[in-house]
Symmetry: C2
Subunit: 310 residues, 2 copies
């Protein structure tokens, strides 16, 4: 933070995995964070649960400056009053979120932004929970939120979107705007589309689970960490770029789309998916796999400081 | 190379972008490389065109040991006779490849592997070009082949597949096996599935081209560089892993699949794709974009040496 600027005031509602990651991220980047959870014990455990993400953030962004203040709030009002951004991480239920919004809205400052971390729901699902839906944006992070920079944003008030984006950018995030709201936002639509074909290849016997994952991580996944999918076809078109690609290979791409599969999660397919990831995990438990993922993500984030993506 | 081992003898047929990258990769990793192209000038230009990939390989793998020998061959026979692996990079035409195979097969050593770099064709398309199709494998690299580690392999002779895999591994590649041949192998099926949804989101007005690319590169793309798609759902299932994920969220994933789009490359969509990548390129030409991609790939490859993917 610039010393002459007031630190952003952030309320974190809900201290599940996502809420804790947001709290650590904002605090590390100098914002003042007030955390609230309807379950008092959950809130009290937050400090201990923030230790691991804070330690990772110290590796990722060692020059972020002094941490902001952390306040564990006993009441919702204590968290909301005076907050610039309220990051909501309640369970993925329309009725739970609507009930929470009814309590939040009267406490919000006029300029404040209510940002929902919702993955499964849309702005159109959540807006009816508010008297003034313009104060709401969806702001979906990608797991783990303190390491993966993406925040997908949809809202109707350009001024609030711009203020929220500035706060996310100050916390080293990359906000990306949707033009209209959509189930799965952008990233989970892409992830679902890719996984559908990955499951189809398992079902159809083209390749094993672990071979598909190895192909992704050592092929397109690696390339998509530095180059977007559209831009990849621009480069695939040679000197003609995207226009050249579409002229020469557009029809074959449409034929390839028609050849993609539509799998079904039958008991047999589910059993093969479970068996496949079990082979791939090779005895490593979830916590071990997550630690490996995070270490690799941190190294990848360091790599892009000197050599940014296209 | 271990000094007591004989260097692999590699024939590279065709000196387009892919052939040149293969030649540089194998030579850098100590193999003896014989290059042949039906156009004599193309072969003569190969040394100059190998300079850039060789320089990048020196950054990626500085400890690879002494380079192998490079021989520019005037005849096909000079390249093939004595080769352990013949990497074919002819144009993507069944008739051209069949005609080439007819010349190659009589010159091959009994143990040799004919490996086709084909992207668009399958083993089943190419096998009929040979008296003994068992000597053929498809071995598809992912562009740029000297930087992206993936080689996707299909063939019918387990001994030849194993020998080819050993040669690719010695050149720091990650070979991945298909269980049956499929158009697009694994990686391009995944890339097509993802791009179909990316184009749909442009067509449907959900997000701009450059927003979708930014979401991918800063979200799922980054994560897929360290964690496979199947394994991501294993971790997304909490302590229950993939089985827990499928129990709780399998049905919602199937609904999400049904909600994905089927775009059409109309003139209007094509125009928007071209306009979008033009905005995203922000004045950078193809060569500049490729240089940025390669620099970022090299940094990402360094990052995974200390912190390998899951």
């Amino acid at each position: 933070m610039n010393e002459t600027e007031k630190a952003p005031q952030i309320a974190i509602l809900g201290t599940g995995l996502i809420g804790v990651a947001w709290a650590a991220l904002f605090q590390h980047h100098g914002a003042d964070v007030r955390v609230w959870d309807p379950v008092p014990d959950a809130c009290a455990a937050t400090v201990a649960r923030m230790a691991a993400p804070l330690s990772q953030l110290a590796e990722v962004a060692p020059d972020a400056g002094p941490r902001g203040r952390l306040t564990l709030c006993e009441t919702l009002a204590e968290a909301i009053i005076g907050a610039d951004l309220i990051q909501e991480n309640a369970p993925e239920s329309i009725s739970i979120k609507h009930a929470l919004f009814a309590d939040v809205e009267p406490l919000m400052a006029p300029h404040a932004v209510l940002a929902s971390s919702t993955s499964a729901l849309t702005w159109s699902d959540l807006g009816p929970g508010l008297k003034d839906p313009a104060c709401l944006i969806t702001a979906h992070p990608f797991n783990p939120p303190h390491l993966v920079p993406l925040v997908e944003i949809y809202g109707t008030d350009p001024a609030r979107i711009a203020r929220a984006e500035a706060i996310y950018r100050a916390a080293d995030r990359v906000p990306v705007r949707l033009k209209k709201d959509a189930t799965g936002h952008i990233a989970n639509r892409l992830a679902s589309a890719l996984w559908r074909e990955a499951v189809f290849m398992v079902q159809d016997g083209i390749a094993d689970v672990e071979a598909i994952d190895a192909a992704l991580v050592n092929g397109p996944g690696l390339r998509w960490s530095v180059l977007g999918a559209h831009m990849a076809y621009h480069l695939g078109g040679g000197t003609g770029g995207m226009a050249g690609y579409l002229d020469h290979l557009g029809p074959s791409q449409e034929r390839r789309w028609a050849d993609l599969g539509v799998p079904s999660l039958t008991q047999e397919v589910q059993a093969e998916l479970v068996a496949g990831v079990t082979r791939e995990a090779a005895g490593r438990g979830i916590a071990d796999l997550e630690a490996t993922r995070d270490k690799a993500l941190i190294a990848a984030l360091h790599a892009r400081k000197d050599a940014p993506p296209v």
